[in-house]
Symmetry: C3
Subunit: 478 residues, 3 copies
Amino acid sequence: MKTDSDHLFPVDPTQRSIARELYAVAAPLPLISPHGHVDPALLADDAPFSDPARLIVVPDHYVTRMLLSQGIPPSKLGVATLPGADPDIEVETDGREIWRRFAANWHLFRGTPSRMWLERVFSDVFDVPPLRAGGTAGWGNADEVYDAISERLSKPDFRPRALFERFNIELLATTEYPLDKLESHARLKADGWGDRVVTTFRPDDLVDFEWAGWPARVAALGALTGENTTTYDGFLSALRSRREAFIAAGATSSDHGHPTALTLDLSRDEAAVLFEKGLNGTADAVDAEAFRAHMLVAFAEMSVEDGLVMQLHPGATRNHNRWLHTTHGRDVGGDIPTATDYVRGLMPLLDRFGNDPRFRLVLYTLDETVFTRELAPLAGGYPAVYLGAPWWFLDSPEGLRRFRETVTETAGFYNTSGFVDDTRAFCSIPVRHDVARRIDAAFLARLVAEDRLPLDEAAQTIADLAYHLPKNVFRLEG
Amino acid sequence: MKTDSDHLFPVDPTQRSIARELYAVAAPLPLISPHGHVDPALLADDAPFSDPARLIVVPDHYVTRMLLSQGIPPSKLGVATLPGADPDIEVETDGREIWRRFAANWHLFRGTPSRMWLERVFSDVFDVPPLRAGGTAGWGNADEVYDAISERLSKPDFRPRALFERFNIELLATTEYPLDKLESHARLKADGWGDRVVTTFRPDDLVDFEWAGWPARVAALGALTGENTTTYDGFLSALRSRREAFIAAGATSSDHGHPTALTLDLSRDEAAVLFEKGLNGTADAVDAEAFRAHMLVAFAEMSVEDGLVMQLHPGATRNHNRWLHTTHGRDVGGDIPTATDYVRGLMPLLDRFGNDPRFRLVLYTLDETVFTRELAPLAGGYPAVYLGAPWWFLDSPEGLRRFRETVTETAGFYNTSGFVDDTRAFCSIPVRHDVARRIDAAFLARLVAEDRLPLDEAAQTIADLAYHLPKNVFRLEG
Amino acid sequence: MKTDSDHLFPVDPTQRSIARELYAVAAPLPLISPHGHVDPALLADDAPFSDPARLIVVPDHYVTRMLLSQGIPPSKLGVATLPGADPDIEVETDGREIWRRFAANWHLFRGTPSRMWLERVFSDVFDVPPLRAGGTAGWGNADEVYDAISERLSKPDFRPRALFERFNIELLATTEYPLDKLESHARLKADGWGDRVVTTFRPDDLVDFEWAGWPARVAALGALTGENTTTYDGFLSALRSRREAFIAAGATSSDHGHPTALTLDLSRDEAAVLFEKGLNGTADAVDAEAFRAHMLVAFAEMSVEDGLVMQLHPGATRNHNRWLHTTHGRDVGGDIPTATDYVRGLMPLLDRFGNDPRFRLVLYTLDETVFTRELAPLAGGYPAVYLGAPWWFLDSPEGLRRFRETVTETAGFYNTSGFVDDTRAFCSIPVRHDVARRIDAAFLARLVAEDRLPLDEAAQTIADLAYHLPKNVFRLEG
């Protein structure tokens, strides 16, 4: 990264100079990425990336949703339609056309993190000129940038593993569902990359009756593990078995994306009844929520046994844009956050395990209002609870700044778990971590400049936030 | 406006200097006021304003509610009581007395936008000395200021149309209920002012069973349009007819002030049943909310047909101060905001029209917590949705600043619809727009100073925010 | 206090210089502490403090909860267990051991107000070196600081009354339950300290059926007052009688800590039925909430009669950490805030008394989201309502700053009631007030530097915030 720039540092010269000094401590530290969505096949295959549009535009729902919001449908940007969707929709296949469309609307991204991430991917990763819209066609120098990136992509230095080394990544966690056979991780292990790329256990599709195809997946879980998943006890055994397989593939944490933060500590028999209703198709929405809520406590219990750190990401209304979902499927930018009650929701889980030294729970939110009101008090009051980094819509300079401003006074720095990039966009990993380090440097610089923390302690803190805390909280110290 | 002042600019010299430069781009641009509450008769009549108290104190509920909050009842400030209200209340009629009472309590407004607006109305519009409380009577130089403003008000240069020209207003939208005959707008049109002062269609009093007198207004709607409004279908036809009349009087948008953001897409028959219950007095609170919710979808459907941009202002608990309501009526400062759920509430409406290129919805809020959590994600994900300016209690320097800080990263600048002054106070229009331009300049200056946006793009952005965006979003480009 | 430091002042030199100037106005003013939890026996006895651990660590739940959150149980910090709690838990009794444990974890407090308060208690009150963790044992200079404070504590200058004088406290209000016989206050009065240390009437334990032992306390109330508290009317008379006794012990306010802000204006007969259900053990959770809600209106009615200012602190989920509650009891750091609806909740109370000039209600919150949305509009619209200082988790530099930034534009400065320290930690009183004065100076300095308020008015405002407003709002001007 271009570590000599003042990008994102506060304007005041005193504060900026302290921020620089603190950033210089964090900048050389290796990247720990304990939570993300990079496809492990990318690194297992280590094949060259395809064209710039398919690398940068098509798979990035931050980009395609912004363009949709101004009337450019995802199909014009190369996003595939679902089988059976409106047959009149033609999906753009020409990478250069997609790129031009994107470039002509570059102004839409002013002030957004996407703009910042992309600019720095262009400059820092690919060393190409900045995109400048305009001109008669509107797309400015789109072709020049496209060609320059394409040229880089053909070189060995721009293959995934070479970039991984260049990015100074020490550890990258990917995320897989329990039915995943972890074949890419096996290949990575065989190549000596097993300690560098690990998996994360994400069982959402196995605990959610409302996710189409649930019974079939439960059956497949039985087939994969040899357990009898027609019973609740067999289902639990099969999940335990998959957790073991994930741990063997390097997992140190599980990840749980639920609509709400509700937890329930049901008896075995109550849970078994729900499980049967789920299987025989008689469960209603209340049953589905109850089963998800109960399974969070069941997974916490497994965590106490096997040591996986539990991550909880509640509060997204999935597929709010129904047309988008029907046409293009999940995870294409149609989700919207919603208010989440952690205080009442987590009570059953925390009653059981909140004070248990073997248990560790990292909480994320899309609802900033809970930072001072709920999450910082919980993290600052329960041994098991840590505060995850600002997530998704909040993973941005202002979001990161508000996070520190609102949680530190109640939870301190040491009940937070460090930055996670949470990204599918492999090339954006370094800039995302760099932004977090810069914002932390700016925040700490204010504390120093306002005589609230001595410089030496601030320096130690930023090193902890950037490197030592995530290694420790996610139990990566092996 | 005194465009050479550093009013509201950031203190840091680097950032201030950039803010000045950006503000200089926006300052000369004409004012677009697509949403407000100026009485159109003011401009149709073009009569001199009455005394300073009746211009500035009596009709401004920001002012009278603050004085009430410190124990000065509205009647002492010239606010009329309702027929039948407590007969012991005497309403002050002496403009000078009202003014002195206001001036003696000038300190209450420190740090408020009312103070700022009034100060700049005094200096920029009337060129009179600043109000300074104190002295033995407490009201300081109240008489001097009162006399100076009175003197100005008698001159032709201070008539409404002269001020309109001086204020550099290109377009002013007023707001009328459907039963309004739009007579002032007809007179304005006859005087060649039809393109400069337009109306807005606000049908709240015709869709709210709980608003006293609803059946009578529905009957009056029938009489006005010649439609049979004893049936739901006739009621819809009558509303369509009034929309046409409003469009003829220049309207390009409708405005909807609802208690919540709930929408419902009922069948024609379900809606007709509710309508009949409303007419025959058997509707309960749930029916009333359902009918309002349904009518939002019905109006969206009409918008798709006739092109009116739809504005939605939910979240005010009207007439919370019941004594104030009973004594002085509506819109005198007794409303209090409340939490609003846009994500679930708008789903039925957005399912129908959120991705429809013919539809446009501008959302406002009194609940800042929804900016990052709900509104920016919705505006950044649906083609139809735009974010309206911070409204009412949030229409202030800090409110405007937080708006940009919280929405830009997710929605960008181009899913916001530009500033609206929303005011009844004609003389405050220029200062309100000026404040918005200054705060935008300050925000953009920070992006520039922190190396997040080049200066030339920031300059283009501020011109868009100040002028081009509202013209475009409100379909004012003719 | 070390009033020459720039602690907490903004970094920008212009703003800092104005902040210094404003702070210099506030710094010499005596402290008014109208709400807090210092034990009055401390000042009645005027005995030397015990060791540093028992003064600073053991009773401070801000400190013990942070250490618990990182796995150090309260028992290791000298916090007593309840009779009947887990007998395997050994409570540390060695003050020096407790202190070392605390010192070795000093880094956990970086960026928290606890760190700031403690540092300035060390430097300003005790004039001892700052704590610096580290070294082979981890606890750095813990012993040196411990010994230095111990040495000071043995001197007459460090007795409570001497510190009270040194701290420049003009008035300190403590908080007592109605069954308290106010014996310490009687002794203080006998010593001529009756005007300096007053009580506050806090009846929560007498209106909450869900608080274990309620019927016994009601019976004790009867015994104490000679009223027949087996009837609702007698219960009310007894409460009135205790209010008189509290007023005789200097009380000018009551304090009410409720789970929610719900109020209900029940008829005498409805309330009497609930009261009886409470006494005979048949009340459920809904009855308990209804009775608490009704009693707020009943107390407001008493306030109109006897003039006590009513304080309401809703929104804490008490004893959320159930293990902590079971093991160590109440008020040891196990409470968590939760969302609170003031707008609907307070309507019945405000309908009755919101516009009554004899009534005064000071509202606090743990939920910052209500500042712009609910509390500032209520305080800026009802004569009776004032906004209390940011409370508990929000009583911190960032919390105080956000408070001014979010409430001032709607409520102004004069509908806020001034800082309250709310503390049990006697030695931290001056630093807490000093922090509030510094943050107000910084906020006002920004208004001055941004040309929003003239310096002379800012200076008058900070004096009002620091001294005159709390005296006036809490009716302490006698």
